[in-house]
């Protein structure tokens, strides 16, 4: 049985784009604010649930639900930043405990409201696209396109706009940035809103491709952390590279190894790289 390189390549791209989309918001918060937002997993999950609620229960158009869910969750980001992050700026331990508390509380609330039964969102674009010997599910292709667009937008925003430059400044030296007159609170709220919005978008899209339950965030969080640490703190574009590497590993290895073994290999690769280069592939020198 020959291995269809083109199909494998497409699979890698599809998986990588899912990973990158999930990790992007997390990367922004870690790089700009230095916050390891464990709550990213529940925001992702809530985004999926809100989309489900709007589209399936209320019957709105699914794309519109996705956008609405993104807006709602993005606004929640304002609350998150103001009351959960800002009081603990500079204290990583307390921030971590706070984000863990958020996970516990939100997962339980969702559990109470909706129950643990596994649901699924119908595909955004049903069907499978075949051509030139390769086939790809339309939903995944759409996810890829949206992911690529959003990633490119984020990278451009950070490099070209004032806000982006300010974010870079804060990520390198927050006190110095404040002394330069940059309103770090405004920037941190913007960054949090963007991160939450990105989490919601990926949550909604993933709800259609994977399933939906209050605990889907947990596995996603591990992958996101892997990607972001591999990429390195301070590098948003590095997330693309790291996402591609992990996507490639996770698409190709399962052909030969079991799921758990794939994880082991992937993690060992990451650990080895980190031992020699703790700041990640593209990160700043510590």
């Amino acid at each position: 049985m020959g291995i269809d390189v083109a199909q494998v390549a497409i699979n890698v791209l599809m998986l990588s784009s899912m990973y990158i989309l999930m990790a992007l918001g997390f990367a922004i918060l870690l790089s700009v604010l230095g916050i390891m937002n464990f709550a990213h997993s529940v925001i992702y999950m809530v985004g999926g649930y809100i989309c489900y609620q709007l589209a399936v229960v209320y019957g709105l158009n699914q794309w519109f639900s996705l956008i609405l869910a993104t807006v709602i969750v993005g606004l929640f980001g304002l609350f998150l930043e103001r009351f959960c992050f800002r009081p603990f700026f500079g204290d990583g331990n307390r921030t971590m405990v706070m984000t863990l508390a958020i996970i516990v509380l939100v997962e339980t609330i969702v559990n109470i409201l909706v129950g643990t039964q596994v649901r699924s969102l119908p595909a955004f674009v049903p069907g499978v696209i075949k051509g030139a010997g390769i086939s790809v599910s339309a939903d995944r292709l759409v996810t890829f396109i949206i992911g690529a667009v959003l990633t490119a937008t984020m990278i451009l925003l950070i490099r070209k706009t004032m806000i982006g430059q300010k974010m870079l400044a804060i990520s390198q030296d927050s006190v110095g940035a404040a002394l330069q007159g940059i309103n770090i609170y405004k920037i941190s709220s913007t960054a949090t809103v963007v991160a939450c919005a990105l989490a919601a978008v990926s949550g909604g899209l993933m709800a259609a491709i994977l399933r939906l339950s209050p605990y889907i965030g947990d596995t996603m969080l591990v992958k996101a952390i892997e990607i972001v640490i591999l990429a390195g703190i301070g590098s948003i574009s590095g997330v693309v590279g790291a996402g591609l590497i992990l996507g490639a590993l996770d698409s190709c290895l399962p052909l030969y190894l079991s799921g758990a073994a794939t994880e082991v290999v992937g993690l060992c690769v990451i650990i080895l790289i980190l031992l020699f280069r703790p700041q990640g592939l593209f990160g700043r020198e510590a």
């Binding site: 464990f38 800002r86 009081p87 603990f88 700026f89 500079g90 204290d91 990583g92 331990n93 307390r94 971590m96 405990v97 706070m98 863990l100 508390a101 958020i102 516990v104 509380l105 997962e107 339980t108 609330i109 559990n111 109470i112 927050s174 006190v175 404040a178 770090i184 609170y185 947990d218 591990v222 952390i225 892997e226 640490i229 079991s258 758990a260 073994a261 994880e263 082991v264 993690l267 060992c268 990451i270 650990i271 980190l274 031992l275 703790p278 700041q279 510590a286």
Partner: protein, 342 residues
């Protein structure tokens, strides 16, 4: 003036005696628990709590040297599986394999120690996080190989038979296990406490405060970091092995990503600054959800609520409620961020 001096002295003495007195009372209560509580389920919770207390205290020992390991449950797993396999496959008595399990865990820590401890603080946490998940998955892989979904059939502790003096069977005897783990825990905690308040502990704390200064006075940073890791992993392995011979069944998910994070959380919420912080934190987080089990699916809200309260009001952890001189409840200021915080 002399009177004032005497007054101060007396109050310190008073505090010391009060502490010793409370300690003895708590110790007595702990030993009397199985006398008053007979329901095996409640004893089970206490046993689990004590096992986790050993693990979290050993986690804190590692953290003393500035390395917070977010993968510590994996070392529990190594001890547990090593002991379980040695007892089940090779027929060795659990009394021996528990110790061997701890040794295996420690050897593993030594093996990965040198490269891992070269990495500083935050990056060490990340590497330990990934390492912990890798180990859990490795166990899954091994299980696939052997075709089992979990390691079952682990022999319980052999009965203790000293003719004329003592005769204890452990099978199905929760009370016996309780006393066993209580004594083990007391010994482990005594050792860890003694270490921390010795020159070794001081050296660890020195490394975590300023590694430049530490090396300038001759401290071999790397060796001491590995030592901390080895000690911490020995005791986690020990606790894991005890768990194995108590639970008699092992599944990888008991030692995965979430449990590791919980361990760190217990330590942080309890309080990093004091030896008793992890004890308090673990006790609260294991016992409270059980006491309030009647709240069913609402119970985690209570846990989350406690976490939020502690993180806002008790920045140094729950244990700071017992500190004498520190300001206890911090006032909530409006603009707190960017204040240089001690």
């Amino acid at each position: 003036m002399l009177k004032n001096m005497l007054k101060i002295d007396l109050s310190y003495q008073k505090v010391k005696y009060a502490k010793i007195f409370t300690g003895i009372v708590i110790l007595l209560l702990l030993f009397l628990i199985p006398v008053f509580i007979h329901k095996p389920y409640y004893l089970h919770i206490f046993i689990l709590a004590i096992i986790y207390i050993i693990v979290v205290c050993s986690l804190r020992t590692v953290a003393l040297s500035g390395q917070v390991s977010i993968g510590h449950a994996a070392f529990m797993a190594i001890g547990a599986y090593a002991s379980g396999i040695l007892a089940k496959q090779f027929g060795l008595t659990p009394w021996l394999t528990i110790f061997l399990g701890a040794v295996v865990s420690m050897l593993f820590a030594l093996a990965i120690g040198f490269p891992f401890t070269r990495v500083r603080a935050f990056y060490f946490s990340m590497v330990s996080l990934f390492g912990g998940i890798a180990i859990m998955n490795l166990i899954r892989v091994a299980e696939k190989w052997t075709g089992a979904t979990s390691l079952a059939g682990i022999p319980p502790l052999d009965s203790l038979n000293i003719p004329g003096i003592v005769q204890i069977t452990f099978s199905n005897q929760k009370a016996a296990y309780y006393y066993f783990i209580l004594i083990v825990a007391l010994l482990c905690l005594a050792f860890l406490y003694s270490l921390e308040h010795s020159r070794i502990g001081m050296t660890w704390k020195a490394i975590s405060q300023s590694h430049q200064v530490a090396s300038s006075v001759g401290i071999n940073e790397s060796r001491y970091r590995v030592l901390a890791l080895a000690v911490g992993c020995f005791f986690s392995g020990l606790a894991g092995a005890c768990y194995a011979h108590y639970n008699l069944v092992l599944t990888p998910s008991t030692f995965g990503f979430l449990p590791s994070i919980y361990l760190v959380m217990y330590m942080l919420v309890g309080g990093l600054g004091s030896f008793w912080g992890p004890v308090l934190g673990t006790a609260i987080f294991v016992l409270v959800p059980e006491i309030f089990r009647w709240m069913k699916e609402y119970t985690p809200l209570l846990v989350g609520g406690i976490m939020v309260i502690v993180v806002f009001l008790l920045p140094k952890g729950m244990v700071s409620l017992f500190y004498r001189n520190e300001p206890k409840i911090r006032k909530i200021h409006k603009k707190e961020a960017l204040r240089y915080d001690a």
